[in-house]
């Protein structure tokens, strides 16, 4: 029954979307999707007979900056006119903030899937059914690759390296389907630009393209180059845990969980085979691995066994669930009050250490989005510096280290719009902090062994606890 209904709702070629198209005429571009008419040009009749899926996963990619300029486009099949982005601009306008632009926007003939990172929208144009996460995941991988290549991924950097960007995109997708997405392989195909190489290239006229064709695609370990050589063989692991928590007005924990990652920087010669074991692997509730980790070994022995990629990579991310009791290392005392009658409000917060296992809490930053009614604030911090932006109403206080003997506090008044009624909601306080040499979950690496190579590597492990999405409601 209802299936039939669903079918009835299917937008045909343009039908059923006329309303949207009408509204979409904000920019006086042709709306007929020129690209489409080209690609349908030489198969018009067959189309109707076969209901042929002219499909590919990702048709085109547009890079759009936050002011709405398309500054790069790449097509993997027939060209899709950039006017298709008008639908995106429309959605962008409707969403008040960039992050509220829906990741999937249907248009009469295409679907626009976008991710927003580094103030750039990466908009992929697709034409047929495809798992949306597939495209989104791929777009994120593109951004990660750019970041990996250029250090940062920003509009000017992409513009400066447009040829490399183009070449990389060409390799990453073939006919809209991902081809080479491992950065190790890509870097063999197309060398990332460095200042030195740019200079050398200009003088010698040589190029960024690898002369040697890569072996990676064919190697047994697709994530690792062959023939890696280092004089200093080192393997460093960072265990980083982030506490996501929501703390209640009264200071009790509503929800808290620990999200951990193990980031590795492995620079080892040859094909080392590493095993990493934990003192207390049972803590890890849910894990996801880099493809190099042998899953069965983990299942049976709770040991991480892997041939690492070369360089930096995320070995593992894990989750310590909310069921386990999570130690909250800081507390915030707050007294924020608005009075109906007066145009002054009181603002007072104090941050203090709670369960820190004897470590110092560093890098503490407090941010808070204050209600619109607040005009300005006059505050005095006992330490650190604070800023208040009267336009965005964002308060931020860079506290620094917490000294348990003398707790940092921020006190003062808020001036409110005269005559306006008091805001409904007290602002939430977002907290950032770092604790070195402590994994708050208690996770400990037992040992790291290397097989397959003869030399002795330098090994190092570092623990850190950070605040993730740490929020205090007031």
């Amino acid at each position: 029954m209802s299936r039939g209904e669903a079918r009835g709702r299917v937008p045909g070629w343009g039908g059923g979307h006329s309303g949207r198209r009408g509204r979409g005429r904000r920019r006086p571009c042709c709306h007929g999707d020129a690209g489409l008419s080209i690609c349908r040009g030489f198969q018009t009749e067959k189309d109707s007979l076969h209901s042929l899926t002219v499909s590919t996963m990702i048709h085109s990619l547009f890079l759009i900056n936050s002011s709405g300029d398309i500054f790069l486009e790449k097509h993997w099949k027939s060209v899709v006119s950039r006017s298709v982005c008008d639908y995106f601009f429309e959605a962008q306008e409707r969403a008040t903030e960039a992050e509220n632009v829906p990741p999937v926007i249907p248009t009469p003939h295409h679907y626009l899937l976008s991710v927003y990172r580094h103030k750039i929208f990466f908009v992929a144009v697709i034409q047929t059914e495809v798992p949306p996460l597939f495209v989104i995941e791929f777009l994120h991988r593109v951004v990660d690759t750019f970041q990996d290549y250029f250090g940062v991924c920003s509009e000017p950097v992409i513009k400066d390296n447009v040829v490399v960007v183009y070449e990389v995109l060409e390799e990453m997708l073939d006919n809209g389907f991902p081809l080479a997405t491992e950065s190790n392989i890509l870097k063999e195909l197309i060398k990332p630009p460095t200042i030195l190489r740019t200079v050398v290239n200009t003088i010698t006229g040589s190029t960024n393209v690898g002369d040697q064709l890569p072996t990676g695609q064919l190697s047994v370990v697709p994530w690792r180059r062959t023939g890696v050589k280092y004089t200093n063989n080192e393997a460093y692991f960072d265990v980083i845990e982030e506490i996501d928590a929501i703390i209640d007005k009264s200071g009790s924990t509503i929800t808290a969980e620990i999200q951990g990652v193990i980031d590795a920087c492995v620079k080892l010669t040859g094909m080392p085979d590493l095993t990493l074991s934990f003192m207390n692997p049972r803590l890890l509730d849910d894990v996801s691995f880099h493809p190099c980790v042998r899953f069965k070994r983990w299942e049976s022995e709770r040991i991480l066994s892997f041939i690492p990629p070369d360089g930096n990579f995320r070995l593992l991310s894990y989750h310590v669930s909310a069921q386990n009791l999570v130690a909250i290392p800081v507390y915030v005392k707050h007294n924020i009050s608005f009075r109906d009658s007066s145009s002054l409000g009181r603002f007072e917060i104090t941050v203090g250490p709670k369960q820190t296992m004897g470590k110092t809490i560093e890098g503490v930053t407090v941010t808070s989005q204050l209600p619109r009614g607040v005009l300005n604030m006059s505050l005095v911090p006992s330490q650190g510096a604070h800023t208040f932006d009267p336009v965005t109403k964002m308060l931020s206080w860079d506290v620094g280290k917490i000294n348990p003997q003398k707790l940092p506090s921020l006190k003062g008044t808020m001036s409110l719009q005269a005559g306006a009624s008091k805001p409904d909601e007290n602002p939430t306080i977002n907290l950032q902090f770092k604790i070195q040499q402590l994994a708050i979950s208690g996770l400990k690496v037992n040992r790291l062994d290397m097989y397959g190579e003869k030399y002795k590597p330098f090994k190092g492990i570092k623990y850190m606890t950070k605040a993730g999405k740490f929020q205090v409601r007031t």
């Binding site: 669903a6 709702r9 937008p11 690609c39 198969q43 042929l52 899926t53 499909s55 790069l72 486009e73 790449k74 099949k77 027939s78 990741p103 999937v104 679907y111 976008s114 991710v115 927003y116 990172r117 034409q127 047929t128 059914e129 798992p131 949306p132 996460l133 995941e137 994120h140 513009k159 447009v162 040829v163 183009y166 070449e167 060409e170 073939d174 997405t181 630009p193 200042i195 740019t198 200079v199 290239n201 006229g205 190029t207 695609q217 064919l218 996501d244 509503i254 040859g270 849910d286 996801s288 899953f295 070994r297 049976s300 066994s305 991310s317 989750h319 009624s421 409904d424 397959g452 929020q471």
Partner: protein, 1098 residues
């Protein structure tokens, strides 16, 4: 950096003097004044001979393309450079071509021949990229060429090229769908491919070209399931979603029984309503199905799929996790679906776009399906799946609004009797949020909770009423709407609330809220008899200024009041109706006319007006507040269609479970056992060092934990058999070598005896020491010393066949006249027919031939066509004893098939220690191998006493090239760099063809694949015997019988790719001769001709 000038010139039009790029070409400085000239300049640069200028020009052109500028007028200038030697220029030209070829088809044709040449290149990456570009330029004329290229590439030896071929298939299909049938053939071929590299791409091609041909999957189903974990992430997603569809057509619903039970019990609970909701058809089906239902047993293949996808929930890729989640949701028994929850919750930490998609899916999955009937029982999900993770869906003030709203949806779905207090407390916080859209959604959510959970209905209602005094109008309006719905459920008790709402009409401006209040008052006017007429009076006053939706409700209210309280409201009603009569909106005019006719008794005294009260004041059922995700599960989860809640182009419906399971035997692979083994071996060979543990796992453990899986069990058994069989043959090989050594040292009859004894001893020894060994993890020792004895023991334990076979063989060895018994003896150990029971004659005979090689040289009459004499190369030095500090190493190509991997050339390495100290720990160290080449190391030699020598076998896959394999020989103290370069003749193995077959094959390999050379045979080399000997010494080929006396034919296949190499020598009695080699591998052909000519003429 390099492209910076392109932008600069675009912005300012003037290149800075500091730009180094322009340094080398002073003329280019002034050219940027206009677009026009710039293009001229680019053309000029492209026409020069300097690669650097060309490159610069191409970079600028690509930058133009990237910005969406038109660069099509440069096409002629660019296309010329397609054959440019500089690899980067070439790449950029490719980029350009792919972009513009479609628009300039005629000119694009100029480039085709370059790609065609590239398709024949010996370098696999060049072949691949040629195919990629050729298939990407969308010029319909070249369809036949593309078709040909794809077909050829599909049987390329390089998996990478085959992958590219798979990618090219949908491209060609979208260009010309008439090729479908041919393409399906290619897909079928590629689906049978064993490499993980190809699997993902070909399934993608399958999905795009012929998703309906589910029959193509049968044979490959199990293979795909088993390969899945090693496929790259993107391929995994595609394969998983394809397999989901496949499973839906091939297996029975695992929830059949459960859902039936539930249906029955629920019928008891909910009674008639339920039956109404369900179509009569489905009920019938259920009732008929019930008695005939057999107890459900899950198909082992179904189980295989579920088991092999589960580890992928741990993938770092959100897309893979989602794919597995939807697979479990659609395919797994109810009790097992729960495993996906944890992984999905984990994804919530990811980027907000990922969160968005995941939450949409979680929202669908978490819906309370109070009615679990309907034709899709599989969608009945374990309800509590996400409940333990309730808190993970709590909303933070920093979440984007769209995420907040989705989380709210999930929270509402998860709310139940037990957790509702927590959820409501949480909602209370949200209501005070600054984000008003979110607040509105929260109010809706509270309304839904109130309707779903009767216990909290009053609490919710009170809370909402309090919100009516909120300062924010949106909040109030939303509350009104929700309250209206709630009140409809139990209107009698809430007169007070209605009064309160009536007062709000003075202030509240939101049309929807106003309309809701009016409707409420009208509907329950008997509860508020005094207020209602007053409200109508006020509304009549402001009627013209109201929104349409409010106006309609005013008419409605007026009509209802007229019917109940006509005394007070008659005039008012008439007034309102007359106003409405002249309204701009025709809906309102219509409604006014219609209402008037209904309620005001006209002269005719219409029958309708008598029933007007019944019409207007009929009791109305309370609305059900439902999630907007209620019906989404019609779409496959994780799909775009599901996300949009509308069918996207190209969406394929997830089929219903079949009533009867189709024949499961279609998935049985009929391929003779031995090929399967060799595949296994090949895979093992390739991945053993890295996946060996998983390999091991797939054997015994799987069969242990699986219940009635006859099928997969047998398979896994066969795999373990093959594994152990392989290693047994390897170790036997080892024995052989030792024996050979023995044989050489003492060429006596005794040696045979000795050898046998030794072996016996060895066998005896084995079981004692290895009790525990076989159970130890294979993975741990995969690195080097996969102790042979351990393997042998396994063979002994598990297999009876080899023993029986061994018993059988000695006679056969005796039958051959013994010149060198050793090698005869080896024969029994060498060929592993126990593992390959159906091994075709060719394989056996090859090894036979190879084994007999030692004897037959002298007594050539013994089946001469089958024999290939010892390698022409003879012993070659690998390491001189001076350089090796007393360790001398030689090698020979034994021409025996390497037991571990049929693609490997087996190389015998002879070590002798001429120093006076023992050499310890001889093994192969890090090989530095050219692409494609791989070696199978020999087991470490623990110690070599002074004066002693030993021989080991190692396998090298030269990938059909004569590139040297470089590796290190390591002793405990030293490392020696050595390299083995094969003569081209060693890269092949003889095959045995009949004369007719030979001619047929030869006819296929003409043209470019044929190389002919004329030569004169010296006098010494005119006899049959010598010619044959010389040829077979040069190349490992088998003789093909031939009718004519002066023609010699030989045939072989290259080891890695298995392409035929056919050699014909036409010798005239005068000494003039013509040598012809036919082979797909032109390089090999050419080199072979050279070598054979040299051998013959010397």
């Amino acid at each position: 950096m390099s492209a910076a000038p392109a932008y600069n010139e675009d912005k300012g039009g003037s290149a800075g003097p500091g730009e180094p790029e322009y340094g080398h070409d002073p003329a280019s400085g002034g050219i940027f004044s206009s677009d026009y000239k710039r293009h001229d300049d680019l053309k000029a640069m492209l026409d020069t001979n300097k690669d650097s200028l060309k490159l610069e020009a191409m970079k600028r052109i690509v930058a133009m393309i990237a910005r969406g500028k038109n660069a099509s007028d440069l096409f002629p200038a660019v296309v010329k450079n397609v054959a440019c030697k500089n690899i980067e220029v070439k790449k950029l030209v490719y980029v350009y071509l792919v972009r513009y070829a479609e628009e300039q088809q005629d000119l694009a044709l100029l480039s085709i021949s370059t790609f065609q040449r590239g398709l024949k290149d010996p370098n696999q990456l060049i072949r691949a990229s040629a195919l990629r570009v050729l298939s990407s330029i969308r010029v319909p004329i070249i369809v036949p060429i593309m078709m040909l290229a794809i077909k050829e590439a599909a049987s390329d030896m390089s998996p990478y090229v085959r992958k590219t071929a798979a990618h090219a298939i949908p491209k060609l299909y979208s260009l010309d769908s008439d090729q479908k049938d041919q393409l399906i053939e290619v897909i079928e071929k590629l689906l049978a491919d064993k490499t993980t590299l190809v699997a993902g791409s070909v399934v993608m091609a399958f999905e795009e070209v012929c998703p309906e041909r589910i029959d193509l999957i049968h044979k490959n189903y199990r293979k795909l399931c088993n390969l899945l974990i090693d496929v790259e992430e993107w391929g995994q997603v595609v394969i998983i979603s394809m397999l989901t569809r496949y499973a839906r057509t091939q297996f029975l619903s695992p929830t059949q029984n459960e859902s039936l039970l539930e249906e029955n019990s629920e019928k008891a609970f909910y009674g008639s309503e339920e039956d109404e909701a369900k179509g009569p058809g489905s009920e019938e089906a259920a009732s008929t199905a019930l008695p005939t239902r057999k107890p459900y047993v899950m198909d082992p293949d179904h189980r295989l799929l579920l088991r092999n996808t589960k580890p992928l929930l741990q993938s770092r890729s959100a897309a893979v996790v989602m794919a597995v989640a939807q697979l479990y949701f659609h395919l797994a028994p109810k009790a097992e679906v729960g495993v996906i929850a944890k992984a999905l919750v984990r994804l919530l930490r990811s980027h907000s776009e990922v969160q968005y998609v995941v939450l949409q899916n979680v929202a669908t999955m978490s819906i309370k399906r109070r009615v679990s009937t309907g034709p899709r029982p599989a969608l009945v999900v374990q309800q509590g799946m996400f409940e333990p993770y309730l808190k993970s869906f709590y909303i933070r003030s920093t979440d984007p609004t769209q995420i907040k709203i989705l989380k709210l949806e999930v929270l509402t779905n998860l709310a139940n009797e037990t957790n509702i207090p927590t959820v409501l407390r949480e909602f209370q916080t949200y209501i005070r949020s600054m984000d008003k859209d979110f607040v509105a959604a929260t109010i809706q959510a509270i309304g839904r909770c109130a309707t779903n959970i009767g216990r909290v209905r009053d609490t919710c209602l009170n809370g909402l009423v309090q919100l009516l005094s909120n300062r924010d109008e949106l909040v109030v309006a939303e509350s009104v709407v929700v309250i209206k719905k709630l009140l409809q459920m139990q209107p009698a008790q809430h007169g007070e609330i209605i009064k309160h709402l009536a007062k709000l009409t003075d202030n509240i401006q939101v049309p929807m809220a106003r309309a809701s209040i009016l409707w409420l008052i009208g509907e329950y006017c008997e509860h508020v008899p005094r207020i209602a007429p007053d409200v109508l009076r006020k509304m009549a006053k402001s009627f013209t200024a109201e929104e349409d939706i409010v106006k309609l409700q005013v008419i409605n209210l007026a009509a209802k009041l007229y019917l109940t309280n006509s005394k007070q409201t008659k005039l008012l009603t008439q007034y309102v109706l007359s106003l409405a009569k002249y309204d701009q909106n025709y809906d309102i005019r219509d409604r006014a006319r219609f209402t008037r006719q209904l309620i005001v008794p006209s002269e005719q005294g219409g029958a309708l007006s008598r029933h007007a009260k019944k019409l207007f004041l009929a009791p109305k059922p309370a609305p059900v507040l439902e999630s907007s995700f209620k019906d989404r599960d019609h779409f496959q989860l994780g799909s775009l269609s599901h996300l949009l809640n509308a069918k996207a182009t190209g969406y394929q419906e997830l089929p219903d479970w079949p009533e009867e399971a189709p024949d499961p035997s279609v998935r049985n692979v009929e391929v003779p056992e031995w090929t399967k083994c060799s595949n296994r071996e090949k895979r093992k060979e390739k991945e053993k060092p890295f996946y060996s543990d998983s390999e091991g796992e797939s054997g015994p453990t799987e069969s242990a934990d699986s219940d009635p899986e006859s099928e997969s069990e047998s398979e896994s058994k066969s795999s373990s058999e093959s594994g152990s069989g392989e290693s047994s043959s390897e170790s036997d090989n080892e024995d052989q070598e030792e024996d050979e050594e023995k044989g050489r040292s003492s060429e006596s009859e005794q040696s045979e005896e000795e050898g046998k004894k030794k072996k016996m001893k060895k066998r005896k020894k084995v079981p004692e020491g290895q009790e525990g060994g076989s159970s130890s993890d294979e993975g741990s020792d995969s690195s080097s010393s996969s102790s042979e004895s351990e393997m042998t023991s396994e063979t002994e334990e598990e297999q009876v066949e080899p023993a029986s076979w061994r018993k059988k063989t000695p006679p056969s060895s005796k039958s051959a006249p013994a010149a060198k018994e050793v090698s005869l003896l080896d024969l029994e150990d060498f060929t592993p027919p126990s593992v390959q029971p159906v091994s075709p004659p060719t394989v056996v005979s090859t090894s036979l031939a190879a084994d007999l090689e030692g004897l037959t040289l002298t007594d050539s009459p013994l089946v001469p066509s089958l024999l290939s004499p010892v390698s022409g190369a003879g012993r070659q030095e690998l390491l001189h004893r001076v350089a090796g500090e007393g360790l001398a190493v030689d090698y020979t190509f034994s021409r025996q098939p390497f037991s571990g991997d049929p693609h490997m050339v087996s190389v015998h390495i002879h070590f002798s220690n001429s120093s006076d100290t023992p050499i310890k720990g001889l093994h192969v160290g890090t090989p530095k191998l050219p692409p494609g080449i791989s070696i199978q190391e020999f087991p470490e030699i623990e110690s070599l006493a002074p004066g002693e020598s030993t021989t080991v076998v190692m396998g090298i896959n030269f990938c059909d090239s004569t590139q040297a394999a470089n590796f290190q020989l390591c002793t405990q103290t030293r490392q020696f760099y050595v390299s083995i370069q094969p003569p081209v003749g060693e890269l092949m193995a003889p095959v045995f063809l009949s004369e007719n077959e030979f001619k047929k094959e030869q006819a296929k390999l003409t043209g470019m694949n044929e190389i002919t050379e004329k030569l004169t045979l010296p006098d010494t080399c005119r006899s049959d015997h010598i010619v044959v000997q010389k040829v077979t010494a040069t190349a490992n080929l088998g003789r093909v019988p031939c009718g004519t006396s002066d023609e010699y034919r030989f045939a072989g296949r290259t080891l890695t790719s298995g392409s035929l190499v056919l050699l014909t020598l036409d010798a005239r009695p005068t000494g003039a001769a013509q040598l012809t080699v036919n082979s797909e591998k032109m390089v090999i052909g050419t080199m072979l001709v050279k070598d054979v000519v040299q051998a013959l003429t010397q």
